[in-house]
């Protein structure tokens, strides 16, 4: 059975901010699934609907077999929700946060005590269990957030941008915790992230989300394999790159050429070999070049490849 089924969810904020536009995907039980996309793509909105915090305008979704709109209570008992912005109480200790969360989930007595101790241990918070959360480092606070989502042993865990804002060291530590967690607790985890690396490391399957829809879904390897080679960005002197794109498409070793205003994005077999050829061809065609950069494929490129738009362009929407 699928632990999460999302079927054509739509959501519009205000008059014309279209956050979700028929998003559709499903996650089998016990799998870690990554929703990948820039801010404003609709990832958080999707998670918030699944966590029963907000309602979709159209479409339906189930979590652990319960409809998120009509069986919100059952969904809330089945899920752990770790929001993007930490929701822990800064004026309370780590232990108090976990105890209250467990009580609100209906846990009591020895079972709650045991589970709290276990989580503090697992997440390396035992030493600071009785210190106020406001004295925690960013990484510790985030680990407490995740622990809070796990107190009542949920079937499904939602992690909304679990490592955004963490320094690289804390991020690496968090990844280790999450990997261990996924293996040990047999949880279904829905992870949203805008780090390709994070999805690559943690998720078995990934869906790339853009403007409220899934544009491509697959394992991280499948997605990367599609993008072998290098990314070349050419900034032109002239105003329009579409002529230049036509020229570049005819060249050997160029897989793809996407114009975007004065910029030209290329996917090539081998960057260093392709650049002189491209520059020569553009020069011959009379297109003046301002700058050229070569890079390894990144999320930007996966995103560009599947949407024809630059990653940052979606950033202006709602997070």
């Amino acid at each position: 059975m699928d632990a999460i089924v999302v079927d054509g969810l739509e959501k519009t904020y205000g008059k014309d901010t279209r956050a979700l536009d028929g998003i559709r995907f499903s996650v089998p039980e016990g799998q870690v699934f990554g929703l990948l996309g820039p801010n404003g793509a609709g990832k958080s909105t999707t998670v918030r609907i699944l966590a029963t915090l907000t309602k979709a305008d159209a479409g339906r979704a189930t979590v652990s077999g319960h409809d998120v709109a009509s069986q919100a209570g059952a969904v809330r008992r089945a899920i752990g929700y770790v929001p993007q912005a930490s929701g822990v109480d800064r004026e309370a200790t780590g232990r108090e946060n976990l105890l209250l969360q467990g009580r609100l989930q209906g846990m009591r007595g020895a079972d709650l005590e045991r589970r709290t101790g276990e989580l503090l241990e697992t997440f390396g918070l035992a030493d600071k269990a009785n210190a106020l959360v406001k004295t925690y480092s960013g990484g510790m606070k985030r680990r407490l957030d995740v622990a809070t989502g796990l107190v009542h042993r949920p079937h499904v865990l939602f992690l909304d941008e679990p490592t955004t804002g963490l320094d690289p060291e804390a991020r690496a530590a968090m990844w280790e915790e999450l990997e261990r967690l996924a293996a040990a607790e047999r949880l279904t985890i829905l992870l949203t992230t805008h780090y390709l690396e994070e999805a690559d490391r943690l998720a078995r399957r990934v869906a790339i989300v853009s403007r409220g829809q899934v544009v491509v879904e697959g394992t991280p390897d499948e997605l990367k394999r599609e993008l072998r080679g290098d990314a070349v960005t050419v900034e032109l002197d002239g105003a329009d790159a579409s002529r230049a794109a036509e020229v570049a498409r005819g060249l050997d070793g160029v897989h793809e050429a996407t114009p975007d205003g004065r910029r030209l994005y290329l996917r090539v077999e081998h960057g260093a070999q392709a650049v002189p050829v491209i520059l020569g061809a553009l020069d011959a065609a009379g297109a003046g070049v301002h700058a050229v950069t070569v890079s390894r494929p990144s999320l930007d490129d996966v995103y560009l490849h599947h949407t024809g738009r630059e990653f940052r362009a979606d950033d202006e929407g709602r997070a």
């Binding site: 915090l53 929001p83 209250l100 009580r103």
Partner: protein, 256 residues
């Protein structure tokens, strides 16, 4: 799991957090005593005028200061709600099966408990200054009036907080209603000394209901019927504003 248990847990959380703020505690303890001392000295000779029903201003003033303190405690309560809202604490609660009502009730109960504890302090201070306030039953009525008036204005405050979601707006509203409601009552001065149109209007003021109920036994000539009516009005006011806060909470949820 029922609403009462959840309310207790959520209220306990806020009280515990407050108990860790030494400055907050000092101000909450000292300020009502300070009001009592200051006003009782400032207006000491005022009972030379007729209409107070007593020649001891401290007897007249103590129930009023308890009500005033509870009123302030309630009116500013929404600030805590805004903080929880900004820090994502409310959302975390909302993703649990906990009752939505308990989230609001816990906060309102917090103000009432703080106000009642302050009222106890005020009564003890008053006693030290010579105000007996009608003994045990008088004390109980003062505590009850403090509890209810704090709940009533906490309901207003949380409702406003959940609608404006901005500290500056919240502060503006609390200040706007604060002093006018205090002065539109017989809290500091005998009712007979207030212009009669103000006396009439003050009957619409929940602060006046609380003052009249709280003072009922402190002064000679207790009218239990009148006190009962004012206490009932206060309870109705608290129920109404709690409903307003809960309703505002729903409308906040819809905007998520």
């Amino acid at each position: 799991m029922n609403v009462a248990t959840e309310t207790a847990y959520l209220c306990g959380r806020v009280l515990r957090n407050l108990s860790r703020q030494p400055i907050w505690i000092v101000v909450m303890v000292v300020q009502p005593m300070f009001w009592l001392l200051l006003y009782s000295q400032l207006f000491r000779r005022i009972t030379d005028l007729p209409g107070f029903g007593t020649t001891s201003y401290i007897d007249y003033l103590t129930p009023g200061i308890a009500v005033m303190t509870a009123f302030f405690s309630g009116s500013w309560a929404g600030m805590g709600m805004i903080e929880d809202l900004d820090r994502g604490v409310l959302e975390r609660f909302l993703a649990t099966p906990a009752s939505r009502g308990a989230i609001v009730f816990g906060r309102i109960l917090e103000s009432s408990i703080v106000a009642t504890l302050q009222a106890v302090l005020i009564l003890v201070t008053g006693l030290a200054l010579g105000a007996t306030n009608g003994g045990a039953s008088g004390w109980l009525v003062i505590l009850l009036a403090s509890f209810l008036i704090a709940a009533g204005f906490a309901g207003v405050s949380h409702g406003v907080a959940l609608r404006t979601r901005q500290e500056a707006s919240m502060i503006a509203v609390a200040q706007f209603i604060g002093l006018p409601l205090l002065f539109f009552s017989s809290l500091l001065i005998a009712r007979q000394l207030i212009p009669s149109w103000m006396q009439d209007l003050s009957l619409l003021n929940p602060v006046e209901w609380a003052v009249r109920a709280a003072r009922g036994e402190a002064l000679p000539g207790t009218d239990w019927g009148e006190m009962g009516v004012f206490l009932l009005l206060l309870a109705a006011f608290a129920a109404l504003t709690t409903a307003f806060a809960t309703w505002s909470f729903r409308s906040y949820q819809r905007t998520l």
